[in-house]
């Protein structure tokens, strides 16, 4: 018995060594060298501002999801968090610390912030900001503030690559459509395409994808961010996105309520990333790998602050746009 335990241990060690040896292949190597290697000056910030505090501390703590494919997901081999949200955080970090994108990325500490704890993490100050497929809406704006949006997600439709009959939600009338049982996605389909056949629904989206592959249903519908994950898991050979979203989920960067100077800074960084191509590059090396075309970046919403929290300076507030609506596209 003892002997077999030792040999089992030896086997495990050997396996671990093999895994380590073939593990860290660097996918980053094929990045376009021009903007990735471009080094920036470390900017000067007003003393006491959030940017200044982070810069002096030397690292930035960012909340993101660890289980959202293409946006924020832990790579089981390298243990790195990868995705579009993660790349946005790195771009912002570069704006704070200067240097190249890689150098700035080293100074980002990611913290897992699943949906139910995002507001609490911001309010407690355990993160500097959150990029975690975080939909901007008025309820959330009462407790946190949002920079951005930097991406607008929405409910979309996934069909087989050779299906040209479904080009929008109205085409779902009379078609078999799969979604997860009891989800808001089903309710949205019923509202937009009342004749759609929604009799087949499962407990996970991957089962809907199987049913689509087998021809049991003609379409799968839910947020496009989930659908692109399914398309990529499959390698992009079987499924495609229709690309006509019929709901609007603007993703923003969540920060502490009332920190308008930080919000302006973040909005500036997002705008800059649109102009210098780093937003596009980030999208292409994350969500784009699932065969999703890079959309037009959404214009950031510099909404007027609806009341500052105690202690925050309001002198820097330079909000120029009209009171916000969540729809920005």
């Amino acid at each position: 018995m003892r002997k077999s335990r030792i040999s089992l241990l030896a086997l495990l060690v050997a396996l671990a060594m093999v895994a380590a040896a073939c593990g860290p292949s660097e996918p980053e190597a094929e990045e376009s060298p021009t903007e990735a290697a471009e080094s920036k000056e470390a900017p000067q910030f007003a003393a006491g501002s959030t940017m200044d505090t982070i810069q002096k501390r030397g690292n930035v703590i960012v909340g993101t999801k660890f289980d959202q494919p293409l946006f924020g997901q832990r790579n089981p081999i390298t243990d790195e968090i990868e995705g579009f949200d993660v790349e946005m955080a790195k771009i912002i970090a570069q704006g704070i610390f200067g240097g190249t994108l890689e150098e700035a990325a080293e100074k980002v500490d990611f913290v897992e912030t699943p949906t139910p704890v995002r507001e609490a993490n911001i309010q407690q100050g355990s993160v500097d900001f959150i990029v975690a497929t975080y939909t901007i809406n008025d309820t959330r704006k009462q407790v946190v503030d949002f920079a951005g949006p930097y991406y607008v997600a929405g409910q979309d439709i996934m069909v087989k690559v050779d299906d040209d009959s479904i080009n929008g939600v109205e085409d779902l009338n009379g078609k078999k459509v799969c979604s997860v049982q009891g989800s808001t996605s089903i309710a949205n389909v019923v509202a937009e395409a009342p004749q759609a056949d929604i009799s087949i629904s499962f407990d996970t989206y991957s089962r809907c994808a199987e049913a689509l592959r087998d021809g049991r249903v003609e379409a799968v519908t839910t947020d496009n961010t989930i659908l692109v994950g399914l398309i990529r898991e499959d390698g992009g050979a079987t499924f495609k996105l229709v690309g006509q979203t019929f709901t609007t989920e603007p993703y923003g960067v969540g920060i502490k309520k009332g920190d308008d100077a930080f919000r302006d800074f973040l909005n500036d960084k997002i705008d800059e990333s649109y102009e210098d191509g780093s937003w596009e590059a980030a999208f292409e090396r994350t969500v784009g790998t699932a065969g999703i075309e890079t959309p037009e970046p959404p214009s950031v919403d510099r909404y007027a602050s609806s009341g500052a929290s105690p202690g925050a300076t309001t002198t820097g507030a330079t909000s120029t746009t009209a009171p916000a609506t969540t729809t920005t596209n």
Binding site: Q181, I200, F202, D214
Partner: protein
């Protein structure tokens, strides 16, 4: 409570689906069970082996695995049936293995002299099985088959994972719609009792009618 009452129509429809699914599967399971049991007592060695293989395979795989494998997996080799038919096939195949064992135990209770007498008057093996052995064997296993039917009636709730709109599927949908899990699941439990309790009574009647006076 009013949550359940306001969805009575949906509950009735789902109960009907559950009943249809159970009855159709049970018919298939009985056929399979008797056939496999006759294989297992057959004088032909390959048939006995096939019967044993069938019973040991399907009795020892969870029906949930069989369902998902058949519905999602067999499509890859070109087998594609609707949700309801897939569920009937899988539940019949699964329950059939248990019925086969129940019937075989019934065959073993039939006195050896019955088979010998049948052979002595010139009946072939199939004839003696169908005319002499099985009629006596099946009578003695009515209670066992009754409890297998009751188990089947509850097992078909697994078909909810392949989107058959039976009671368990309905309960998940109604909980999502209403946000009242306690009432909905209570209603679902009551609906199952309304189906399983009469079943026990019916099999009790059959048992008394078919009992052999010894």
């Amino acid at each position: 409570m009013e949550v359940v009452l306001s969805h009575l129509g949906a509950f009735a429809g789902a109960m009907r689906t559950t009943a249809e699914l159970a009855l159709a599967s049970f018919a298939g399971a009985l056929l399979i069970g008797v056939l496999i049991a006759s294989f297992r007592v057959s004088p032909v060695a390959p048939l006995r082996a096939a019967g044993t293989f069938y019973v040991e395979t399907f009795r020892n795989i969870p029906p949930l695995v069989l369902l998902v494998l058949f519905y999602f997996g067999f499509t890859k080799i070109g087998i594609l049936y609707s949700e309801f038919v897939s569920a009937v096939i899988v539940m019949a195949v699964y329950t059939g293995s248990f019925i086969a064992e129940a019937v075989r135990s019934g065959i073993n209770t039939v006195a050896r002299g019955q088979a010998e007498a049948a052979r002595a008057i010139g009946l072939t093996f199939p004839q003696s099985l169908i005319l002499v052995i099985l009629p006596q064997a099946l009578r003695s296993v009515v209670p066992a088959i009754g409890s297998l039917f009751s188990a089947l009636l509850r097992n078909v709730s697994l078909a909810s994972v392949i989107a058959v709109h039976e009671l368990a599927w309905l309960s998940v949908r109604l909980i999502a719609d209403t946000g009242r899990p306690f009432e909905i699941l209570g209603g679902t439990a009551a609906a199952y009792l309304m189906m399983t309790l009469p079943t026990g009574y019916v099999f009790g009647v059959i048992e008394r009618r078919t009992a052999i006076k010894r």
